[in-house]
């Protein structure tokens, strides 16, 4: 399930030919290296755009970042947390 984070993060990104690609960012005082950008899209809020990125880090964690064109700021929107498996037997003491 998705867990909303909505925290401002510092991101190293590549801005080239009108495209933005996040490379690395810092979250919880730890560097997170982006291994793959799995999706990109844009939403608009009036004349300003927010660019969204879904990324996978070195540990195969899925995260969603966004870049606000107006504020020139990055946000870690949410992360994917695997739901606990149903029906799994409880650990015996």
């Amino acid at each position: 399930m998705y867990q909303d984070i909505n925290e401002a993060v510092n991101v190293i990104a590549l801005f080239t030919k009108g495209k933005i690609t996040p490379i690395k960012f810092q979250w919880n005082n730890k560097p997170v290296k982006v291994m793959q950008v799995t999706g990109k899209w844009k939403s608009s809020n009036g004349r300003f755009n927010i660019r969204h990125f879904t990324v996978i880090d070195e540990s195969d964690n899925f995260m969603q970042l966004s870049y606000d064109d107006q504020q020139l700021a990055w946000t870690l929107d949410r992360i994917w947390v695997d739901p606990p498996e149903r029906g799994r037997a409880k650990k015996s003491r």
Partner: protein
Amino acid sequence: MLQNNAGANGVKSRHFGTNGSFGKGRQLTHVIQREHSDKETGEGIEPPPKRRLPRGVPDKVAARWEGYKTIVHLDMDAFFAAVEQQHNPALRNKPVIIGGLPGYRGVVSTCSYEARVYGVKSGMPSAEAYRLCPHGIFMQTDGHKYTWVSVEILSLLKQFSPTVEPFSIDEAFIDISGIWQRYGSPADMVNSIKDAIKGKTGLTCSAGIGPNKMIAKMSSGMDKPDGLTEVHPERVPAFLENLPVEAVWGIGKATGKALEKVGIDTVGELAKTDRSLLKRLFGVAGLALHEIANGVGDTEVTPFYQKPNEKSIGHETTLPKDTASVEILTANLRMLSERVGRRMRKSGFEARRVTLKFRYADFSTFTRAKTLSGYIRSDTAIFHQAMRLLKENKQRTDSIRLVGISVSKLRDTYNSFQEDLFRSSGESKLSCICETMDKIKDSYGDNAITYLSTMTRYV
């Protein structure tokens, strides 16, 4: 002449046989004539390799499309769910259900094929979906994301043909008449399009090729997901012959039942039915049904760059809880009229007819409309007409579940240079206010400004 079971062998490109009997999807037996093969292809036998001819060399089968309109309908497979699965690998091969969350009121917008195994379907209440598939991953829709991917796909389609008509967020018609020859055959061209979409977005789609939009649309639903069904113009009667009438695009459950009552179960039977009988039963729509049953359909694909011929603009909302509160209903109608008005003005229209839809808690639904003497453009004028319709027609004090507003009898404001002589000065002022609000929303977003009365719309 050979036949095979379409669902079993995974053949993607196919031509329908003259003596075939067809059903929707894989539930009914497909009987297919493989025109390029004389061997019977039963289960377990690999389909023959895909025909690959040098570009610009149409083969014999393809050549039979020469001189006919060649329309393609593309339908993305479980689009919203597939986009989510593509973006988040953790969701792949899992039952993903997009729409209302369980515990809240809402319906399933779409679901992945893994969820469909459990009986989950589009349009089903989320609570029922949860009952069928409690371990499903329920997610809310993300319109911006899906629209973005849809636009990406559309831009790709434009590279193949200039005549692309987006039909919805996940469907499009493409006219490939006179273009497919570069690829060898219509099927080869569509396979190239499918490959390009998969390469760019990772998503699959199902396609139908036919001589008109109706046949193309119906055939794209025959082999899902990731299928391709080709219905040659000469094979249209055989394609339609044994289809149940409800498989026809435009025939719903009510019409299907009405046809069943007079003993018409298949499209073939509908095609042979006397036109006067159909006219007596369904009016002008009966004649249209007869034409559809005989394979006659619209062949004009409206290119994306042409302004769509909008006939009405509407919005509706299901309330979080059933309510009879006038204040809440008023607030929701205000919000809906604001949305409808903004869309109408953005499209450059003004309207002369306002329609109100309301659904009681027992699902009985009423639609009431009023045609006005003059054209209106402001949110407030739409709202006042909707309120009047509600007051005049809401006979029961029961709670309401859903409200909707639409406007029709549209006129292009850009082309109507002459100001309406009888437009009230009040309406002109209200229109100016709305246009100012539109400019603020254009700059700062749709939530930047609204009517105070919309604030009380929540139960």
